[in-house]
Symmetry: C2
Subunit: 249 residues, 2 copies
């Protein structure tokens, strides 16, 4: 099953979710590939991989097989297809290509059988790279920060998803919306969660990710929070999300 | 003077800085135009302007004069050139245009004389829209969230700025790097501030923006924090930044 973690709003926890959900699923004995398609390459560095010699730019721009770029991580069962700055070139090069929305989907076809779960960490945009992820994925996970601006952008994201379902990828489904950076002391968190549950009901994950500084510290050590501090509220929450993802699909 | 507020990392406080710096400068008797060039249109809605009939998409894609789309806000001296979803079309339409990097700069030329300060709120990317902002601006303000991933992206941003200075906009200067969402209780905040001051010295603003929930609440009321809660630590900090910006330039 291929999951894209998407939301064009910046800084809502896409990378934090991709890395920590991936690690939690690996600890549940799944074989997981994390594909970093953001040229910021945060998911790669959050797992200790910096300046990878081969990246998703080689796959998307030069047709290299994904299997050639995959590297292992310190977590057994978790592998990464790293990103790099060159991927930024895709915004200029891809639009002129035939079947430009299917480049990632074709690349994923040859590794799909080697992993139980593939996770795509997307950049903060609805550009062609993100559309490639919507076309290449089976399921979507939408992190929603418990803040006003993050709520505002949801309707536009869902319109884009509906458009992709109608034409390019009819089988695409939203697994759920994951509330992130929840701070029980603030009114705004409760308001946003209330709105999401009202409009989207069951589509909102039961598990909620709390604001937890250990989640922000872990990437500077190059490891997921489940390794950095397994007892932290952030690590516990992502383990719950992993179980809920397996139940939902 | 035209300021672009830029950082390709998502969610670091670009919009919060644009809106609240703009409002604080207006309260210091400056005539300020806030130009929203992010198709998320958060700066527009953060000032109470939703679904504007004419937006920056009409200016950038159809050549309409900016003066035609400017609307007032509840803050005397603060005006907005709102954004809209259509601006997302620029990523596909602009690349094929002649002098595509100068579209915004030309549009700003006809209003430059009517305002003391113009602020450009940029999207989370280094795409052609952001390059237009780097070419159209005189000065840059770079919000840097006090977190690991935000630190990582700085060198790439500075490379892009240097490239623009070398060819498209030699007069461009960085006014400063503004540390945002600082939480004195966390080690990571202190580490990031230490790194930025070590590498960039005086370029880092003396004023630091604390993490303050009033900053996150204000947009849901359609007003800057200086109106929503003038005594809050967020409002006080942005007033300090406004004064420091005027001193620096
Ligand atoms: N639950 C949390 N508690 C505390 N900090 C968090 C949490 N989730 C994410 N963070 C921190 O917040 C910042 C933004 O998160 P992250 O980078 O994962 O978001 P993103 O959506 O991937 O951003 P971008 O849009 O730039 O890709 C990071 O510095 C991260 O470490
Ligand atoms: N100092 C602060 N304290 C608390 N919350 C803040 C602060 N600054 C910004 N926020 C909140 O954090 C979130 C991200 O900030 P903002 O939207 O301004 O960042 P941005 O860089 O403009 O994001 P994008 O990359 O999507 O354009 C918003 O919900 C905002 O209200
Ligand atoms: Mg990310
Ligand atoms: Mg913004």
């Amino acid at each position: 099953m291929i999951y894209a973690v998407v939301n064009q709003k910046g800084g809502v926890g896409k990378t934090t979710t991709s890395v920590n959900l991936g690690a939690s699923l690996a600890l549940l004995d799944k074989r997981v590939l994390l594909v970093d398609i953001d040229s910021q390459a945060n998911a790669s560095s959050g797992l200790g991989i910096v300046q990878a010699p081969l990246t998703m730019a080689d796959v998307i721009l030069d047709g290299r097989p994904i299997a050639d770029i995959v590297v292992p991580t310190r977590i057994e069962g978790l592998f990464v297809a790293p990103s790099g700055q060159d991927l930024a070139g895709a915004a200029v090069e891809l639009p002129g290509r035939p079947e430009r929305e299917f480049v990632l989907r074709r690349a994923l076809e040859e590794v799909r059988g080697s992993y139980d779960i593939i996770i795509l960490d997307c950049p903060p945009s609805l550009d062609l790279i993100t559309v490639n992820a919507l076309v290449g994925a089976d399921r979507l996970i939408v992190p929603v920060q418990c803040e006003f601006y993050a709520l505002e952008g949801l309707s536009r994201l869902l319109e884009t998803i509906t458009a992709v379902q109608a034409s390019l990828n009819p089988g695409l489904r939203v697994t759920g919306m994951l509330m992130t950076m929840h701070d029980p002391r603030t009114r705004i968190s409760a308001e946003v969660i209330g709105e999401v549950r009202k409009h989207f009901g069951e589509l909102a994950f039961r598990a909620v990710i709390p604001r937890n500084v250990r989640l922000a510290e872990a990437p500077s050590h190059g490891e997921p929070v489940i390794r950095y501090d397994a007892a932290s509220s952030g690590a516990v929450a992502y383990s719950q999300v992993a179980r809920e993802v397996l139940q939902r699909d």
